[in-house]
């Protein structure tokens, strides 16, 4: 337990509470292969929503020729990220295409046909340590860098967050606890100086005192490479952490390295921590030092049904099928195709899906690997899930409530604190799809929240309308009353006149008579 300044009692308490699971790594053979670039495909598909937050807004027209690094779509909100052209070519369309999403639904994307020339716009690099922190955050935002650990949260938002709250420690997350994936491992081995430089840039931006690079012990080469790259640098320490899923979750890593817990309703910045993935550090390094926007990433292509697993560096928008083909194709009909890691990735039924910013892996898993043959059974309350939950929840109780339709009770049990890591479902002997229960409940609650907001808006509209109708009716009635009154007055006047005239006539007549 090489955590540097974890209090003793925290270390002792770890002996009692052993959360998490130890899935089989399956990191090799892919982890043993060098990162290889693959040739450009015939068409790049760049979804507008590759990140957490608002989808990007296209700024190019169909038919327009673009250069590598040119802005294709701009950030549409504070939490959003722009998208750039990975190579030069022509925009052939902006259309709905299948995107990697558990629903299998389509999303808007920019289609780019590469012309093979790979002409680039001019990039402007800079020495980060002469730049203002705000300027660095701005440049990172403009480069479209997002968190590459899986969540794809815009990196610049976290950087500017760090400027508002004092940050004492920057943690670079090299945990990569997902089995099968080794893209971060290869990145740390092959580009350790870039990782360390990215860490220094982030530290400079947020004003953190020290940098801890946490790497799981199952990646000794990465630890060695990073230590070499960080040698002689003040305040940067590479810390091995145990290989245990989900050690790469930001909260768990922070807690393991520092003994501090992120408040459940807060952010890591609330306790002076900032966590960035190693891939993000490299992307930030490229964006600042060389002015390059984020258009390429490393993807692990592996699985029991794949011929030659390896790590590939690919342009965003490349179809997953091209990666699988580059790796020699499938040797077997896969039981499941997964985009991402086996613990939190999404199952897909086609490989005609683009690689996006958050894609760390493409897996073709055999039936033996997924355990797909086993049937779901009743819960026997074995409490494996309770012991495994890194958050200290009671997954079996929560799932039972959700099954019974009582979502409120599952929230009381801590549903909103669930990070969806899947450890509970992994260790469940009855193979109950616990994660799906929780995702269903979370989605359902969000949908209800949306419908409630709509209800409120509609009620206001309806009330406004009935108020208006009432007012109109009243005005109409008043107007009618006024008109009636006028008419009556006029009538009365006319009558009076007529009476007067009659009287006058009578008078004159009588006068005549008398005369």
């Amino acid at each position: 337990m090489g955590a540097p300044d974890t209090p003793l009692f925290v270390r002792l308490s770890r002996l009692l509470k052993r959360w998490g699971a130890h899935p089989e790594g399956h990191k090799y053979p892919a982890a043993g292969t060098e990162i290889t670039a693959i040739p450009l495909p015939a068409l790049l598909t760049l979804p507008l929503s590759q990140h957490v937050g608002a989808p990007a807004r296209p700024v190019v027209a169909v038919g327009q020729r673009v250069l590598r690094g040119q802005l294709l779509a701009e950030a549409a909100a504070t939490i959003s990220a722009p998208i750039h052209a990975p190579t030069s070519g022509t925009v052939t369309g902006i259309a709905e295409v299948p995107v990697p999403h558990p629903s299998g639904l389509s999303g808007m994307a920019i289609l780019l046909a590469p012309d093979g020339l790979d002409e680039a716009v001019e990039f402007h690099g800079a020495d980060p340590f002469t730049l203002e922190p705000a300027e660095i955050a701005r440049r990172v935002a403009a480069a479209g860098v997002v968190g590459l650990g899986g969540a794809a949260f815009p990196a610049a938002v976290k950087l500017s967050q760090g400027q508002r709250t004092p940050i004492s420690t920057l943690i670079i997350n090299g945990g990569e606890c997902e089995p099968y994936l080794s893209c971060d491992d290869r990145l740390m081995r092959e580009r350790a100086p870039a990782v360390v430089d990215g860490a220094r840039i982030i530290r400079h931006t947020v004003g953190a005192g020290r940098v801890l690079i946490g790497v799981e012990t199952n990646k000794p080469e990465a630890i060695a490479a990073l230590r070499e790259a960080a040698a002689g640098l003040e305040g940067i320490r590479v810390v091995p952490v145990p290989s245990r899923y989900p050690m790469g979750s930001a909260q768990q890593l922070i807690s393991w390295l520092t003994g501090l817990e992120v408040p459940a309703e807060g952010r890591s910045a609330d306790i002076g921590m900032l966590v960035h993935n190693v891939g993000t550090a490299v992307a930030i390094h490229r964006a600042i030092r060389f002015g390059e926007p984020f258009t390429k990433r490393v993807v692990t292509v592996t699985g029991g049904a794949l011929r030659t697993p390896r790590n590939l560096e690919v342009c965003l928008g490349t179809p997953a099928a091209a990666l699988v083909e580059f790796c020699g194709g499938l040797v077997d009909t896969p039981a499941r195709l997964v985009i991402g890691g086996p613990m939190m990735g999404i199952a897909v039924n086609t490989l005609d899906l683009p690689i996006i910013k958050g894609t760390g892996g493409v897996l073709a898993l055999s039936a033996a690997e997924t355990g797909a043959r086993r049937e779901e059974g009743p819960c026997i309350r074995c409490t494996s899930c309770v012991g495994a939950c890194p958050i200290g929840l009671l997954p079996l109780e929560m799932a039972a409530r959700i099954r019974g339709g009582d979502l409120g009770a599952s929230v009381d049990l801590g549903l909103k604190d669930c990070i969806g890591c899947g450890t509970c479902a992994f260790v469940c002997p009855s193979k109950i799809p616990l994660v799906q229960y929780f995702n269903h409940a979370k989605g359902e609650l969000a949908a209800r929240e949306r419908s409630k907001l709509k209800q409120d808006a509609i009620r206001e509209l309806a009330e406004a309308r009935s108020a208006r109708m009432e007012r109109e009716a009243r005005e109409k009635a008043e107007a009618a009353a006024r008109r009636k009154a006028e008419r009556e007055r006029a009538k009365a006047e006319a009558a009076a006149k007529a009476a007067a005239a009659a009287a006058a006539a009578e008078k004159s007549a009588s006068e005549e008579n008398t005369a």
Partner: protein, 356 residues
């Protein structure tokens, strides 16, 4: 290749059937020792009980319109029957096994909704039902008559015992019965235990008692095997043993003539079976870590209290059932602290970062 398959896409757990198999494997040595000590009648009784459980399980599952195959394959019915048989007097009549097994399955398990739904441990509930309903048959202990020894009944002769009655003069008292009887006659422990209490004999099963409860050493060994295989956790058995040993030690220290020594408590009766195999039943024990400590301690303490002051000489089954009833309550009040929250469920306050 269908859609809407939720993550994770890998599974790392033993299937339920394997878990049950491991438990049976752990029970095997103690069971074989029981067979050897008590001979053919014990084997017949064990068979009858297990078959009764499997048969009634099949019946119940079929009644609900499901296939019986998968339900039997998970092994839970056989395991229940097995545990019940081990807790019966070895030469009990056949109908005790049949009625007990059927009661365990129908009333204690399927009436509650089947596997994973029952509130009480079926084996223990059945044993208590039998003990209360048939007190004579359920307390006919006998000293071991190992297979092959002169007094041991033959395979055929044993049929007459299981399906008939125990021949006169064979029965003998268990240690706890003996102590209870002597104590009511005002005989002090040091006198009544002489020649009866030998820890070594108790641990290898040379004593009168239930079919599978007598060889404490083998039961503990099986339990440790389960701990090692991570089938059961350490909390419940440890708490159970502590829960009975601590008060026993204290009482024995204060009044050695009145209270049995802790070792006798641990080795006699069904404590080992209860601590490692009965109280650790997943379904009927708490799911929270703290709750498991509370549950185990409660089981141990109640066992000691019932043995010391209760109407029955043995209290493991009653103690486990009482704690089973308290399990939902224990679960409710011992929820683990959620990461990033206080015990009361409030979010932790933001901590000011330490400058360095």
């Amino acid at each position: 290749m269908n859609l809407f398959v939720s993550s994770p896409h890998a599974h790392g757990a033993r299937p339920v059937g394997q878990v049950m198999l491991l438990v049976m494997l752990a029970l095997l040595p103690a069971t074989l020792a029981g067979f050897w000590h008590f001979g053919w009648p014990a084997i017949y009784l064990w068979l009858v009980t297990v078959i009764s459980c499997a048969f009634t399980e099949t019946l119940c599952v079929r009644l609900t319109g499901r296939k019986a195959g998968p339900a039997l394959a998970d092994g839970s019915a056989v395991l229940t029957g097995w545990l019940l048989a081990l807790s019966l007097p070895p030469w009990a009549p056949w109908w005790a096994g049949v009625i007990g097994g059927a009661f365990a399955m129908v009333v204690c398990k399927h009436a509650f909704g089947g596997l994973g739904q029952n509130l009480f441990n079926p084996a223990m509930a059945a044993r208590v039902m039998l003990l209360i309903s048939f007190p004579v048959e359920m307390t006919q202990w006998l000293a071991p008559v190992p297979l092959g020894s002169a007094e041991a009944p033959s395979a055929l002769g044993a049929l007459a015992i299981t399906f008939g009655a125990i021949p006169d003069g064979m029965t003998s008292a268990s240690l706890l019965d003996h102590v209870r009887n002597e104590a009511t006659q005002g005989i002090t422990l040091s006198t009544s235990l002489t020649g009866v209490y030998d820890p070594l004999e108790l641990s290898v099963g040379v004593r009168a008692g239930s079919m599978g409860e007598t060889t404490a050493l083998l039961l503990a060994g099986g339990g440790i095997f389960l701990l090692f295989m991570r089938v059961i956790g350490v909390r419940i058995p440890a708490a159970f043993l502590l829960g009975i040993a601590l008060p026993a030690a204290l009482a024995h220290f204060l009044a050695p003539e009145r209270y049995l020594p802790p070792m006798a408590h641990l080795l006699a009766g069904g404590v080992m079976l209860g601590a490692f195999f009965i109280a650790t039943d997943y379904v009927t024990s708490p799911s929270t870590p703290l709750g498991q400590w509370v549950f185990g301690l409660g089981c141990g303490l109640l066992t000691w209290i019932i043995r010391t002051w209760g109407a029955y000489p043995e209290g493991v089954a009653f103690a486990v059932l009482l704690m089973n009833a308290a399990t939902p309550l224990i679960d409710h009040y011992t929820r683990p602290r959620i990461f990033g929250r206080t015990r009361s469920g409030r979010s932790l306050p933001p901590a000011a970062p330490k400058g360095n």
